[in-house]
């Protein structure tokens, strides 16, 4: 915590860009302001996002709009059970040259883009899903011994349907861990529905009126590096992650009862990054405890492996993380049992 903070002026320019981006997204997809902010936080954190919700809630439209607003290359892959890895990462195809020679040429797959929409990702086989592991973690594709880098920035925005699970393949933990967020997409309110009915005839979203140019996006990424996280906040994240492991001393009874496996250090890294992005979105140069509390459920919920008791008690990972946040104090200050700190006169 030695680097100087961004000045208010510097931060204001970044905030303006973020605000405009969110305004565009809010205008395209009505009634999803919180979702837009969390998705933008994931983009600023350079993380991959898994959207989970019923069909027709606007998951694909959101991702499509994001690609438009951010002026990033966008490709969509509809995951099906017969989808092959080569359908995603590309394949070598025998091509005849002008001189008549024939040679194998690499035909890039849809993964060579900035934003890859993996629609209904859980319908592809594990073999095909595993083709995304290298791309998501290392932003590269290795095929027949040669590694090809993906364009930067690279995001995988996947969607999956929580129902109709017949013929689906649950995502392996290794791949789930590579998603920064898993965001549940719920139904919208009546007012929002009324507005959608009024303004969206035939369901066509409006074209964005403003777009974020690549330099501006790069400046936002630079600003992310200047958001300061205090050691106490980093410690809080570390304690949270440690508390998800049932065997650790920090773990509360809740975790010991319902959690089978805790989250990885990658989750701690992702949470810190997401908290920085959330602070930036909220016009702050520093990360606060509330930023961590906000992003923690989306970072942790898909990484926790719950046991059968949680299923018996119908306790979801998201709710468990919310409860866990209520049980882990932000600071480790050891005050005597009878000493309490609160607002008011001393």
């Amino acid at each position: 915590m030695t680097d100087p903070l961004m000045t208010p002026e510097e931060l204001a320019s970044k905030t303006r860009l973020i605000k405009q981006t969110l305004e565009q997204l809010d205008a395209i997809l009505l009634g999803r302001a919180d979702l837009h902010r969390m998705v933008l936080a994931g983009i600023l954190s350079r993380g991959h996002i898994l959207l989970e919700g019923l069909p027709g809630l606007g998951k694909t439209a959101l991702i499509h709009a994001l690609g438009q607003v951010l002026q990033l290359d966008f490709k969509r892959v509809q995951f099906t059970p017969d989808l092959m890895p080569s359908d995603i990462v590309g394949a070598h195809i025998l091509q005849q040259q002008e001189d008549g020679r024939r040679e194998m040429q690499f035909q890039p797959g849809p993964v060579f883009t900035n934003i890859l929409l993996a629609d209904e990702i859980n319908r592809a086989s594990p073999k095909t899903q595993s083709a995304l592991l290298e791309t998501m973690q290392e932003h590269s594709v290795t095929l027949l011994g040669s590694t090809r880098a993906l364009p930067e920035p690279f995001f995988v925005l996947a969607s999956q349907n929580p129902i109709e699970l017949e013929g689906t393949y649950p995502l392996p933990e290794a791949q789930l861990d590579r998603f920064l967020f898993k965001i549940p997409v719920g139904a919208v309110s009546v007012d929002t529905l009324q507005e959608i009915i009024r303004s969206r005839r035939r369901g066509e979203p409006p074209v964005p009126t403003w777009r974020l140019d690549p330099e501006a996006l790069a400046s936002l990424f630079d600003a992310m590096d200047r958001v300061v996280m205090a050691p106490a906040v980093a410690r809080y994240i570390a304690r949270l992650v440690s508390a998800t492991h049932p065997g650790n001393t920090e773990a509360p009874e809740l975790v010991a009862q319902y959690v089978q496996y805790g989250v990885s250090p990658r989750a701690a890294i992702g949470m810190a990054e997401a908290a920085r992005a959330w602070a930036l979105i909220n016009n702050r140069p520093t990360v606060g405890f509330e930023d961590v509390r906000t992003v923690a459920p989306y970072v942790l919920n898909h990484r926790l492996v719950l046991n059968y008791r949680a299923r018996f008690d119908q306790l979801g990972a998201y709710d468990l993380v919310v409860q866990l946040l209520g049980q882990i104090p932000e600071t480790e200050m050891e005050l005597p049992k009878n000493v309490k700190v609160g607002e008011g006169k001393a």
Binding site: N338, G344, A346
Partner: protein, 462 residues
């Protein structure tokens, strides 16, 4: 307020309240311990004031320790800044300000933060501790009977000893001065006895009781010998009187011999001398002037001697009913009823001492003439009651004890045998006496001797 100042102010308040909390808790523990110490002091009859004064310097030490503990455990500025930041959801700006990174940012205007001490439970515990201390100081332990300095309850024992002393005095076994001395000593013991130290009083009473019993045992043994001699004399007198009827010449010789013996015995025995003088005053022929014992005098003498024997026996019975004189080998008081029945069933018993079992050497004239009244029983262990003094080789430790002992007098009473005294304390011979190696250590009881004698005579006959 400046964030930096607010952090420092909150930190100081936290330290102060924590110090107060530690002080209350420490004081509570201290008061509990002090109360326990006071309670122990009162039970052990130590003076409370020095203990209380000695504990007073602990008060400032306790308060200083509480303050030091609170300061050592005081939160860092970073921790306090994090607390403020988290409490007021400042998004890390307070922590950045504390670290000096947010100079270009406006100071956050935070409301004051209160540090509260929720002291209901600690105060209740403190109140309980104070109550305990007060109870430890003022609860009347004496009335509760714990450690009270009340005199020892020995009245029953004193009364019993007084009865014994009175009896000894009444039957003229001890002098008036001796009785008074013992009573004075006993009352002094009763006055000085303390419930807190009962051992000394009990030991003193035991010693006094032992002295009384020893004195009684000596006297009983002495009386018993005298009674035996008297009975032998009565038997001789009766034999002489019977011979007087049959053969006067022989009787005269016997009377003459008896007269000589009586004169000699009277020189050593003042009681006999006084008896003879009283007979002379009653009209009998005086022996002191060298006269011979005549028929009338012998008859009077035999009657008086028998009367004296009965009186002595009655006194001895009284003693034994009081539990005295048993060390002289006498039967127990509870045996007297059976003795009485025995005498009623055997009216012809000529030797009362022997018949009553009071004689330490039953049987006259050898082992074959013992009473032989007790049946030999093979069921229970035979009581060694009535066994003569048995020689024993003393062990080294017993010999040392004997050398270190002080001779206070000679007694005819039976020696007290300490059955718990062991010859050796360890090894294969633990618990054995020096003469355990003898083939047979049992002695034949007097009442069994006749039967034993018959047994061996039968073998010889065969």
């Amino acid at each position: 307020m400046d964030t930096e100042k607010q952090i420092e102010a909150l930190r100081r308040r936290l330290v102060a309240v924590a110090a107060w909390d530690h002080a209350v808790r420490g004081t509570t523990v201290w008061i509990f311990l002090l109360g326990a110490a006071m309670l122990v002091c009162r039970l052990l009859h130590y003076r409370l004031t020095p203990a209380f004064v000695a504990s007073l310097p602990l008060v400032p030490i306790l308060l200083a320790a509480a303050a030091i503990l609170a300061v050592r455990r005081s939160p860092t500025k970073e921790a306090v800044a994090a607390l403020l930041d988290a409490h007021f959801t400042q998004g890390g700006l307070v922590m950045a300000s504390e670290a000096g990174l947010a100079r270009q940012w406006p100071e956050a205007s935070l409301p004051p933060m209160a540090v509260q001490w929720q002291g209901r439970q600690p105060l209740l515990v403190l109140l309980a501790a104070v109550s305990f201390l007060l109870a430890a100081l003022w609860v009347p332990l004496e009335r509760m009977g714990a450690g009270a300095d009340l005199p020892l309850e020995i009245e029953a024992m004193v009364e019993q000893l007084e009865e014994r002393i009175d009896l000894l005095k009444e039957i003229e076994l001890i002098e008036e001065e001796q009785a008074q001395e013992w009573k004075t000593l006993m009352h002094a013991l009763q006055q000085e006895s303390s419930g807190t130290d009962p051992v000394a009083t009990w030991e003193a009473l035991d010693q006094l009781e032992k002295r009384i019993e020893d004195q009684a045992a000596i006297e009983v043994a002495s009386r018993r010998q005298e009674v035996q001699k008297r009975e032998e004399l009565v038997a001789a007198l009766k034999a002489a009187l019977q011979a007087y009827e049959e053969n006067r010449e022989t009787a005269d010789a016997a009377m003459k011999e008896l007269s000589t013996l009586l004169q000699k015995a009277a020189e050593d025995n003042p009681n006999l001398k006084a008896l003879l003088e009283s007979l002379a005053e009653a009209g009998a022929q005086p022996l002191a002037a060298g006269g011979m014992l005549d028929h009338k005098t012998a008859q009077m003498l035999a009657e008086r001697l028998s009367q004296m024997t009965e009186e002595d026996l009655m006194r001895m019975q009284q003693l034994m009913q009081q539990g005295l004189g048993q060390q002289a080998g006498s039967p127990r008081p509870d045996d007297m009823e059976s003795l009485k029945r025995f005498l009623e069933e055997n009216p012809g018993c000529s030797n009362l001492v022997a018949c009553a079992g009071l004689s330490p050497s039953p049987g006259i004239g050898g082992v074959s003439r013992g009473p032989g009244t007790a049946p030999i029983s093979w069921l229970n262990e035979t009581s060694e009651e009535g066994v003569d003094f048995k020689e024993e080789t003393l062990t080294a430790s017993q010999t040392d004890s004997l050398k270190e002992s002080l001779l206070v007098g000679e007694s005819l009473g039976a020696p007290e045998v300490d059955s718990e005294a062991a010859g050796s304390t360890g090894g294969a011979l633990a618990g054995s006496q020096a003469n355990d190696s003898a083939a047979a250590t049992y002695q034949v009881l007097p009442r069994h001797r006749d039967a034993v004698n018959r047994f061996f005579n039968r073998e010889e006959g065969n």
